[in-house]
């Protein structure tokens, strides 16, 4: 657990799934999600500790989301981006989670 006082400004943040799996992710990569961004920038505990708990998101789904964060971060400046593979059985749950985290198409924003 991040007890570091500087955790609020650390390069990494910790995302915790409903079954208590912890994922340490590059902070910049998570900022694509408006939901996580507002959590991290808030003066609440998440903003201070850099630790976001998602009791609604299962570890399996969270893993995929973290993978997406890195995929997005890696490709953020490219024009031609290969699609990330989405497992069919997780598709609907991932869709709900994506909606929850605001990982929406930029067309609407």
């Amino acid at each position: 657990m991040a007890t570091n006082t500087d955790a609020g400004n650390s390069k990494y943040v910790t995302l915790v799934s409903s079954d208590n799996y912890e994922f340490v992710v590059l902070r910049e990569a998570t900022l694509i999600s408006p939901a996580i961004k507002s959590m991290l920038l808030s003066p609440m505990r998440e903003g201070q500790t850099g630790r976001c708990v998602f009791p609604e998101i299962h570890g399996l789904v969270m893993e995929k989301i973290v993978e997406y964060f890195h995929y997005w971060y890696k490709n953020r400046d490219k024009t031609v981006v290969p699609d990330m593979e989405i497992p069919v059985d997780l598709c609907l749950e991932l869709l709900v989670a994506a909606d929850f985290l605001g990982l929406d198409s930029k067309l609407l924003s």
Partner: protein
């Protein structure tokens, strides 16, 4: 022996006797007559080869004893010949060379020799051969397949073999790698769906879902915008049919947007109204099967639609439209009818003012029987806020002047597409009457003049517009295409006045084909000190005076611009595009410039 030909001499010098070949061929023909497994004699090597085939056939298919004995004797002889040949191969230089490269193993040596032997003895294309499968004679081609245990197969047997083997079929050649990506990007740019960087997770999920939609049983409790996106994606791939429609119709839903009804039947529409009694908004594109019977069912139900969007429903009759509007018109706030040939007409529009007391939004696009009389009736709908018309019949400008006088004050959207007769009187009416307009579209007029546009925007008491489309308002003269003495169309003054009035708030501007706007006007409008923070999409295609400098100035003056279209602007040559912007239609091989490197 008679006189010999040169060929016979030549063959004889190579130890080949023409006579022997002829005799062998006769013997073979005889053998083929009585025995389907008769061995061909094409050359000495082929003899041995087909002998092995004969032996293999022998073991595979039992035959009468006499024939078998004869065959066994022949096979014995052939096998000896084969052995001799193999020994010869083993002694050859080529074999030694090949062997040296590999490890020295006696078993291996035999295999190698046999492999070389078979390699050499395979019949060449064009020769006759006995099929290793059915024994029939056939002509060897380059496509003849090898039998699993040696020999060649005729084409029917080869096909059989191909069927049983599960060799993965070669996929149709697809362009892959960077080229495919580039093509997709260009396609997306023209669709207006291009964004640099990775796709959103939601888009990825929806694409996966659309690919596997047959596995989905239920979409669960997804929010409405997400469901709408799924519906769009499915329709785009033309996957919306009777079974996938079920995913969208739940008893509780209030809106159903179907973007492609081409595969749906009248029963499907009835099912929609059956299962969703709370339906408020319905949109049906390509709704060919939205027929009278569907209307009848809708009329019989206690469904109060607020939003009704029907595209391509040609089979709803005039009487049914009238009945629908009279009975169900009361709660209706939005009515959009696209592409109906005959039955949605002036009569239907005449019902609206009385039957639809809360109608705010009306769109009538591409309906052949709507004329000026219908437009006059629209003027009586006092609640109207948004009006969109794209009619086939010519309508006199005075009709629009009358309409604007009656309901222009509250109109927020006015879209009059493809109206060649529109003239300055309509613009003056807009100037005098409209006070709440946000979106204005007047296209294809070849009567409106520059002065008309200038008068419209100068000292207009309307707020800034968000959306302006004056596409193809220009002079059309095939004899003197370059001259425009009367200042027809949107020219320099009109454009300057437009940007002065609406520029700060404008989000979308289309002046496609307004080719008399001068370079000086563009330079003035997009001068260094002017900023248009709202502008996101600008279309200046076929404005001939646009230069590299003007395009650069546009990028400077519009910090939030996403897309700039410059098709047919031949003076645009080599522009630096700032990062994250899209420039479409550059007249060079590239065509599209996106996401430039310049910050």
């Amino acid at each position: 022996m008679g006189p010999q030909s040169a060929l016979t001499d030549f063959l004889a010098s190579h130890n080949i006797s023409a006579n022997q070949i002829r005799l062998d061929a006769e013997a073979r023909r005889r053998a083929a007559g009585q025995n389907p497994d008769g061995s061909p004699v094409e050359g000495t090597e082929v003899v041995a080869e087909s002998a092995t085939a004969a032996v293999e056939d022998e073991t595979a298919s039992p035959e009468p004893a006499g024939r078998r004995r004869r065959a066994t004797v022949a096979a014995e002889e052939k096998r000896k010949k084969e052995q001799k040949l193999i020994d010869k191969i083993k002694a050859s230089k080529k074999f030694q060379k090949r062997k040296r490269n590999d490890d020295e193993d006696s078993d291996y040596e035999d295999d190698l020799a046999r492999a070389i032997f078979q390699e050499r003895s395979a019949p060449l294309p064009g020769q006759m051969e006995n099929c290793a499968g059915c024994g029939k004679r056939f002509t060897v081609t380059t496509y003849s397949r090898n039998a699993p245990d040696g020999g060649l197969l005729c084409s029917p047997c080869g096909k059989e073999l191909a069927k049983t083997e599960d060799v993965p079929k070669k996929k149709p050649k697809r362009i892959s790698g960077a080229l495919a990506g580039r093509r997709q990007v260009q396609s997306n740019i023209l669709d207006g769906t291009f964004y640099p960087g990775a796709k959103s997770l939601m888009t990825l999920c929806i694409e996966t879902l659309a690919k596997n939609i047959d596995l989905a049983e239920d979409l669960g409790d997804l929010p409405e915008p997400v469901i709408d996106k799924i519906a769009r994606k499915l329709s785009k791939h033309r996957l919306l049919n009777t079974s996938t429609l079920s995913l969208f119709i739940q008893p509780t839903v209030e809106q159903i947007y179907i973007y492609d009804c081409a595969k749906l039947t009248a029963d499907d529409f009835v099912r929609v109204f059956q299962t969703a009694p709370n339906l408020k908004k319905i949109k049906a594109c390509n709704a060919i099967h939205f027929k009278d019977e569907v209307m009848d069912y809708l009329l019989s139900r206690n469904i109060n639609l607020e939003d009704f969007y029907l595209h391509g429903a040609n089979l709803v009759s005039e009487a049914k439209w009238k009945e629908f509007l009279e009975k169900k018109g009361k709660p209706l706030r939005s009515l959009k009818v696209y592409w109906t040939d005959k039955h949605f007409n002036d009569g239907s529009l005449a019902v609206l003012p009385t039957a639809c007391p809360s109608l705010e939004r009306l769109k009538v696009y591409h309906n052949q029987r709507v004329t000026g009389d219908g437009v006059k009736d629209i003027a009586k709908i006092k609640t109207l806020r948004h009006l969109g018309l794209d009619l086939r019949e010519p309508v006199h400008p005075d009709v629009f002047v009358g309409l604007l006088a009656a309901i222009g004050k509250d109109l927020e959207t006015l879209s009059l597409a493809r109206m060649p007769d529109l003239d300055n009187s309509v613009l003056d009416a807009i100037h005098n009457r409209c006070r709440s307009l946000r979106k204005l579209r007047l296209t294809d007029s070849d009567t409106i003049t520059d002065q008309g546009f200038e008068r419209l925007f100068k000292d207009w008491d309307n707020k800034e517009l968000f959306f302006i489309d004056f596409q193809k308002c220009r002079q059309l003269d095939s004899v003197k295409p370059r001259e425009n003495p009367n200042g027809i169309g949107l020219c320099s003054k009109g454009f300057t006045a437009l940007m002065e009035h609406s520029g700060p708030k404008l989000r979308h501007l289309n002046v496609h084909g307004c080719r008399n706007i001068s370079a000086a006007a563009f330079e003035e409008v997009f001068a260094a000190e002017k900023v248009y923070p709202g502008l996101r999409k600008l279309e200046i295609s076929f404005c001939e005076e646009v230069t590299d400098f003007i395009v650069g100035s546009i990028f400077r003056s519009c910090p939030n611009l996403r897309e700039l279209n410059v098709f047919g602007c031949m003076k645009v040559k080599d522009v630096k595009v700032p990062r994250g912007k899209i420039l479409v239609g550059v007249p060079n091989a590239l065509g599209m410039v996106i996401d430039g490197d310049d910050d």
